[in-house]
């Protein structure tokens, strides 16, 4: 393989990495919000994403399949899964998190893990019962068309940019931007940040921390569901897909530094890049191994994340 061919492959992988990375980034932002505010490892995050994918699938059909239908459906998945998340929190998660967790062994970590694992099992297997096991996907009119960048360097290199994926990445970026504005400007965002920073002090300031947690959980799974809806236009999916992505998401969130919104987005972007660029040097099957190796290296060498500040050890 000559240099031009290599450069073309590299640029192609870079493009694909950035486009999927943006969607991963959005998914990571949702997870990071939950972890940042509640300090809970939500194992069911991937399965809420899966629900978002199916919500988008049905919403697309309901919208009647116009050219913009898949994207609108992906956005609609957000509020739908928000409701599911708020209910799950109210009925289940709140029993073992927040102020109640201090009464439990290990601050309730065991209880939280097993509860969200149980929730993940129910969603996956309930999904299997309801949606069936056959992989499905959301077709968009743009999925099969691409812009050609180039030819560059004479006529030896051209890079194809998938139009459907580009639209998805742009929507992901806009959603993250909207979320950042919400967190920094609105009263809701302030109360979420206060509850994350010091729940006890937040209570004294008249913030309903229980409600903040509920909204954070709902928003977190809702945001991830939008990411899932966008991803559903790129890859086929089935009810067990959450398992794979919960790890991708945690890798991204840890990479960006647990609890930081912009860090989480950047972390997701990096994961997308690692996944795609690794195909240049590694066999396809080892894409995910590459993610885990990078993840482990970052966790071990820079536990505060690539973009986080060093925390003092106590």
């Amino acid at each position: 393989m000559d240099a031009a061919q290599y450069a073309e492959n590299f640029l192609q992988a870079l493009t694909a990495g950035l486009l999927t990375g943006a969607i991963y980034g959005l998914m990571c932002v949702g997870l990071s919000l939950i972890f940042g505010v509640m300090r809970v490892i939500n194992f069911a995050q991937g399965d809420f994403m899966m629900l978002g994918m199916y919500a988008a699938l049905y919403a697309t059909a309901w919208l009647g399949g116009g050219p913009a239908a898949p994207w609108i459906a992906a956005l609609l998945a957000g509020p739908m899964i928000f409701v599911v998340g708020v209910l799950s929190h109210r009925l289940l998660i709140s029993r073992v998190t927040g102020l109640r967790s201090t009464a439990l062994a290990a601050d309730g970590h065991y209880a939280q893990l097993i509860l969200t694992l149980g929730l993940a099992l129910i969603l996956q297997n309930g999904g299997l019962t309801v949606f069936g096991s056959a992989p499905v996907s959301i077709a968009t009119p743009l999925s099969s068309s691409a812009w050609e960048l180039g030819p560059l360097l004479g006529d030896r290199i051209s890079v194809f940019v998938n139009q459907g994926q580009t639209v998805g990445a742009v929507i992901a970026l806009l959603a993250v931007a909207a979320f950042v504005v919400l967190m920094n400007r609105s009263r809701l965002g302030k109360s979420l940040r206060a509850a994350a920073d010091n729940p006890v002090a937040a209570i004294y300031m008249g913030i309903d921390v229980e409600r903040a947690h509920r909204l954070a959980f709902g928003l977190g799974v809702g945001i991830t569901a939008v990411g899932g809806g966008l991803l559903a236009t790129v890859y086929p999916f089935q009810p067990y897909i959450g398992l794979e992505y919960v790890i991708v998401m945690y890798a991204g969130v840890v990479l960006g530094g647990l609890g930081s919104v912009t860090g989480a987005f950047a972390g997701g972007l990096v994961i997308g890049l690692v996944q795609q660029l690794s195909t240049l040097v590694l066999p396809n099957q080892l894409q995910n191994t590459a993610i885990f190796v990078v993840f482990l290296a970052v966790v071990l060498l820079r536990p505060q994340g690539l973009f986080g500040r060093a925390a003092r050890r106590t």
């Binding site: 209880a111 097993i114 129910i122 966790v299 536990p303």
Partner: protein, 590 residues
């Protein structure tokens, strides 16, 4: 109770359970039920393996599939490639699992809490894809028709169930022995307060490594056995997320940190999920997982720490209703006169120690000496750097500059457990007992520093309890003690490490007059017996009575030092700390 007696006490129910299980197995004719009877102990061992590490250390592992899968693939590959029988392969798989535990543990123990849990998740999943890539998507163990038994292949499937049962009973016995001994005590202490455990001379890393090596070995061996039972090994089946979750689910369901918890979890959940799958799997795909999920959620909401702990709590509540009152502690008589002490050569020499937090200089070139046998008091306003100094002395913080020489040896920057072993004990400003352990266990955890032998360590712990007068309440859980008893308990825990130097951080804080007298008496007596004491305290009258010498810290630097009478008259000290009412000089008597 001696170790031998306690393990015998555990051995009886384990043996009874084993006999009952074996009888049920022998009476089962259906091959599918025999398989379930084999899988129950397999997952119980996996749960026990997870429990041995995560249950006692409190570090949640999502990665036990790594050890399990390596064991399974080793046994399968060894038989396929080299014709090695599983009878040899499984023990080697165990060794391999232990080695994998060591390799995983060495870097990963730098992480704590959530980071540790998430990092552990990555190991089996990385391995999963590697094994897929290597082309072992489906590895079948060859049938050995010549010598089936020599290759662990039996026509009668009840043999597998009995072998699995033997592995489970052995794992339960191992867990019960370890739980009762130093292993369980030290890990439980670390789980509750790692920093306090470190200050009491426990090396957290070494103990975590021991735990993960043992745990990995169990998981590797049972993984190897699993390969033999199923005859087919796939990456998903042995490295998949479900393997790790199953291990932690059976343990958490039954009760973390117990011998019976993982077994109860496996006995209830494995047949439940298998039978549901067999009965309803065709009509309602996924019903097994849904019911499984609902079952564990229900348990976690009703008994967040597992079935065994719930039962234990219920029983204890009934028992404590019967005898609600705990005998109060005896006040120790102040029998040794302070004047009996002899002040010797320098024991601790601190020179130019500086520590900064960001831009704040918490300690700025602090130098001081402590002589053998002396009681040195450290006073100063809040934020002067007193506790920071202690943290530097016992190794919690590494000084940016300066040196600390203790007993003729440089100890600057050494880890806390090594400094404790060198002879520095400490207590904490905010008490840090191991709340879910008894008074005796708290002190025993500190007694292993110089005495690996359990019987002699127990004698040391008894002696330390005698010295502070807590012997009468040694069986009480530390979580229910009064402030005074907690202060005394911390002193006893430090004493159990046979310290030459005792660092007491505001030991009198929050005590009433009677409590202050009791603790003062203990401290004086320790000093009279030759322990050197450095004490931080705000109560000046107590300090003046107790200390031979005072050092005043202000803004991270030594402001003054000298005899208590001189210090209370020093105008700088009065301005910086004591306040004007000390100017008249008559307040010492109050």
């Amino acid at each position: 109770m001696s170790l031998a007696a306690s393990s015998r006490r555990h051995a009886v129910p384990i043996a009874l359970f084993g006999v009952a299980y074996a009888l049920v197995t022998l009476a089962t004719g259906n091959e599918y039920h025999q398989l379930i009877l084999t899988l129950v102990p397999v997952w119980a061992v996996m749960g026990l393996s997870w429990n041995l590490f995560s249950g006692y250390s409190g570090l949640v592992s999502f990665g036990h599939a790594a050890f399990f899968g390596l064991g399974a693939y080793f046994v399968a590959l060894a038989q396929v490639q080299w014709g090695m029988t599983p009878w040899i392969g499984i023990p080697i798989a165990g060794a391999l699992g232990g080695l994998a535990g060591l390799i995983v543990g060495l870097p990963t123990f730098r992480l704590r809490g959530h980071y540790f849990a998430l990092a552990m998740l990555a190991y089996p999943l990385a391995l999963l894809y590697v094994f897929e890539w290597l082309g072992y998507q489906e590895l079948t163990l060859p049938m050995e028709r010549e010598h089936p038994a020599a290759f662990m292949q039996f026509a009668d499937h009840r043999v597998y169930a009995l072998l699995a049962l033997a592995a489970m009973l052995a794992s339960m016995w191992l867990t019960s022995v370890l739980e009762r001994g130093r292993f369980g005590l030290v890990l439980t202490a670390m789980k509750q307060d790692e920093a306090a455990a470190e200050a009491a001379g426990i090396d957290p890393r070494a103990w975590k490594l021991r735990a993960i090596v043992l745990s990995g070995a169990l998981a590797g061996a049972i993984g190897g056995f699993y390969a033999v039972v199923l005859l087919v090994v796939t990456p998903q089946a042995v490295f998949g997320m479900l393997v790790s979750s199953q291990a932690l689910i059976v343990a958490m369901f039954g009760g973390v940190g117990t011998v019976w918890g993982p077994v109860i979890g496996a006995v209830v959940l494995v047949p439940l999920s298998e039978l549901l799958h067999a009965r309803l799997g065709n009509e309602i795909p996924g019903i097994q997982g849904v019911v499984y999920g609902v079952a564990i959620i229900a348990v976690i909401l009703l008994a967040p720490e597992g079935v065994v702990w719930k039962l234990r709590d219920l029983r204890q509540r009934r028992a404590s209703a019967a005898n609600a009152n705990v005998a109060p502690t005896a006040i120790v008589a102040d029998d040794a006169p302070a004047s009996a002490r002899t002040i010797g050569p320098t024991l601790l020499e601190v020179s130019g120690v500086s520590i900064a937090f960001g831009g704040l200089k918490a300690l700025d070139g602090v130098s001081l000496r402590v002589a053998t046998g002396e009681i040195l008091g450290i006073i100063g306003p809040n934020g002067a750097g007193k506790t920071t100094l202690f943290n530097a002395l016992n190794g919690f913080l590494r000084p940016a500059a300066g040196s600390i020489v203790f007993d003729g040896r440089e100890i600057t920057g050494q880890p806390p457990h090594r400094i404790c072993a060198a002879g520095v004990g400490r207590t904490f400003q905010v008490v840090r007992p191991f709340r879910r352990m008894t008074v005796f266990e708290n002190v025993l955890a500190g007694a292993f520093v110089h005495e690996p032998d359990e019987i002699r360590a127990r004698a040391i712990a008894v002696d330390a309890l005698d010295q502070v007068g807590l012997r009468a309440i040694e069986a009480v859980s530390a979580g229910g003690l009064s402030n005074r008893d907690l202060r005394l308990l911390e002193i006893a825990r430090a004493l159990a490490g046979r310290p030459k130097l005792l660092l007491l951080d505001e030991t009198l804080a929050g005590l009433d007059t009677e409590g202050v007298e009791a603790v003062l008496a203990v401290v004086k007596r320790l000093a009279a017996r030759g322990t050197t004491v450095v004490i931080i305290e705000h109560t000046m009258p107590a300090m003046v009575r107790l200390a031979d010498r005072l050092v005043v810290l202000d803004h991270g630097a030594v402001l003054a030092e000298g005899a208590p009478e001189a210090i209370t008259r020093n105008p700088d000290v009065i301005d910086a700390y004591l306040g004007k009412r000390w100017r008249t000089g008559d307040a010492v008597d109050r």
